[in-house]
C-alpha cells in the first residue's frame, strides 16, 4: 500500500504537515545524539568520538533491512520509492568536495540546522557558507553543465551494479557496520586515554 503520498493515499496540504513532523523528529534525533556540536562530529576523523559513524550506520542498516521487509510483505511498492539516480563522475567529485567540506567545516547541512537552533554561531556560519556555495555553483553552472549531467546511469541500485541481490547487499552492510562498530569502539577507547574531553556540547 505504501508509499502513501506517491500513491495518493495522503493528499493535499497534509504533505506539509507531515514534512514538518518528520523534520521535527529528524532535528530532535540529530540534536539529542550530539550532532549539534561540530567537535563531536569531527571526532569521527580523529578517533575520539565515533558518534557520527554509530548513528549513521545504525540508521542506515535499520532503514535498509526495514525497507526490504516492507517490500517483501507488500507494504511498500519499491518501484515508487525514490532511488537516487547515479551520475558517476559528478557524484565522485561531489563526494570529494563534501568530504573536504566535512573535515573543515565539521557540519553537514542537517546538523548545522540543529546547531543554529541551539544558538551556535558556527552553525550559522556553516549555513551561510552553504548558501554562498550553492550560489557560486549556480552562477558557474553554464561552465560545467555538460559535466553535471555526465555519467548518467539511471536509478541504479547497488545490487544491480555488482550483479548481486539487494538482500545480499544489505546483509553485507549489516556485517560491515557491526564490525565497524566494534573496531571503532576499540579505537575510541585507546584514543580517549590521552584526552581529557571527548564529548562536547
Amino acid at each position: 500500500m505504501g508509499p502513501l503520498i506517491p500513491q495518493g493515499i495522503i493528499t493535499g496540504q497534509w504533505d506539509f504537515v507531515i514534512a514538518l513532523l518528520i523534520g521535527t523528529a529528524f532535528g530532535f534525533i540529530l540534536e539529542s545524539s550530539g550532532f549539534s556540536s561540530s567537535r563531536n562530529i569531527a571526532g569521527v576523523f580523529y578517533g575520539y568520538n565515533f558518534v557520527v559513524l554509530r548513528v549513521f550506520f545504525t540508521a542506515m542498516i535499520v532503514a535498509m533491512v526495514g525497507l526490504l521487509y516492507f517490500n517483501y510483505l507488500g507494504w511498500i511498492e519499491m518501484d515508487m520509492v525514490f532511488v537516487l539516480p547515479t551520475y558517476l563522475a559528478p557524484m565522485i567529485l561531489g563526494g570529494f568536495i563534501m568530504g573536504l567540506g566535512f573535515v573543515i567545516g565539521g557540519f553537514c547541512p542537517g546538523t548545522s540546522y540543529t546547531a543554529c537552533a541551539i544558538g551556535k554561531l558556527d552553525g550559522f556560519a556553516f549555513l551561510g557558507g552553504f548558501i554562498i556555495g550553492v550560489f557560486i555553483f549556480a552562477e558557474a553552472f553554464p561552465l560545467f553543465e555538460n559535466f553535471y549531467y555526465s555519467g548518467y546511469m539511471g536509478n541504479i541500485t547497488i545490487g544491480e551494479v555488482f550483479n548481486i541481490s539487494n538482500e545480499l547487499v544489505t546483509f553485507i552492510f549489516v556485517i560491515v557496520a557491526i564490525v565497524a562498530f566494534y573496531v571503532t569502539w576499540l579505537i575510541e577507547k585507546k584514543v580517549r586515554k590521552n584526552r581529557t574531553e571527548s564529548k562536547f556540547e
Binding site: P3, I5, F16, I22, G23, A25, F26, G27, F28, I29, L30, S32, S33, G34, V44, F45, R54, T58, A59, M60, V62, G66, L67, F70, W75, M80, V81, V83, L84, P85, T86, Y87, P90, M91, G95, M98, G99, F102, V103, I104, G105, G106, Y113, T114, K120, L121, G129, F130, I132, G133, V134, F135, A138, E139, I156, T157, I158, G159, E197, F200
Partner: protein, 179 residues
C-alpha cells in the same frame, strides 16, 4: 542506561545506537509515507533560488540551474516539502536542545587551540564546499549518503564512501582545527 554518570560529567546525549535506531525508523517511516528519504540541503538550495528569483527574476530564469527549481505555476519555490522539513529540523533541534539544557545564548564552539574567528572562517569555507559538493552529489549527507544508500542507490553509496574517505584523507592536514 548510565544516566547518572552522564549528568555529573559531560553532556547528556542519548545512546548513539538508540539514536541510530530511531533515525533508521524515522527514515523508514519517511520512505513509507513520502516514498523518498530525508533531506537537508534541498531547503537551503531552494532558499538561494528564491532569493535570486526575487532579486533578479530575469537572471534566475536565464540560468539553467536556477530555472530547474522555479515552479512553472508562479508559486514560490519555497512552498515545498523540503522547506517544511528543514523548518521542522530546526524546531526539532531546538526542542531537544531545550529538553537537555543546551539551548543557550549565541556562542561559538571551537577547539581551544584555535580562535573563534578561525572556527568561523573554517565553518564558512566548509559550508561553501558542502554547498558546491552537494549540488554535484545530488544531495548532502542526509539526502544522498544516508537516504540514498538506505534506498540502495549506487550513487548514494558512492557519495557516502567518498565523503567519509576523503574526510579521513584530509583529516591530518586540518587536525589543528579540531585537536
Amino acid at each position: 542506561m548510565k544516566k547518572n554518570s552522564n549528568i555529573t560529567k559531560g553532556p547528556r546525549y542519548i545512546n548513539p545506537y538508540f539514536g541510530g535506531i530511531l533515525l533508521g525508523l524515522l527514515l523508514l517511516a519517511t520512505f513509507y509515507i513520502a516514498g523518498r528519504g530525508l533531506s537537508a540541503s534541498g531547503a537551503a538550495k531552494l532558499s538561494v533560488v528564491t532569493i535570486i528569483d526575487k532579486i533578479a527574476p530575469a537572471h534566475a530564469e536565464g540560468n539553467a540551474y536556477y530555472d530547474k527549481f522555479i515552479p512553472t505555476d508562479d508559486s514560490s519555490p519555497l512552498f515545498n516539502w523540503l522547506i517544511f522539513g528543514a523548518i521542522g529540523t530546526f524546531f526539532g533541534g531546538m526542542l531537544s536542545g531545550g529538553i537537555y539544557g543546551r539551548l543557550k545564548k549565541l556562542r561559538i564552539e571551537h577547539s581551544p587551540n584555535i580562535t573563534g574567528k578561525t572556527r568561523m572562517i573554517a565553518a564558512v569555507v566548509g559550508g561553501m564546499l558542502f554547498g558546491i559538493g552537494s549540488q554535484f552529489g545530488r544531495g548532502c549527507s542526509s539526502g544522498a549518503a544516508l537516504s540514498g544508500t538506505a534506498s540502495l542507490s549506487f550513487g548514494g553509496l558512492l557519495v557516502m564512501a567518498l565523503m567519509f574517505g576523503i574526510g579521513y584523507v584530509f583529516a591530518y592536514f586540518f587536525r589543528k582545527l579540531w585537536i
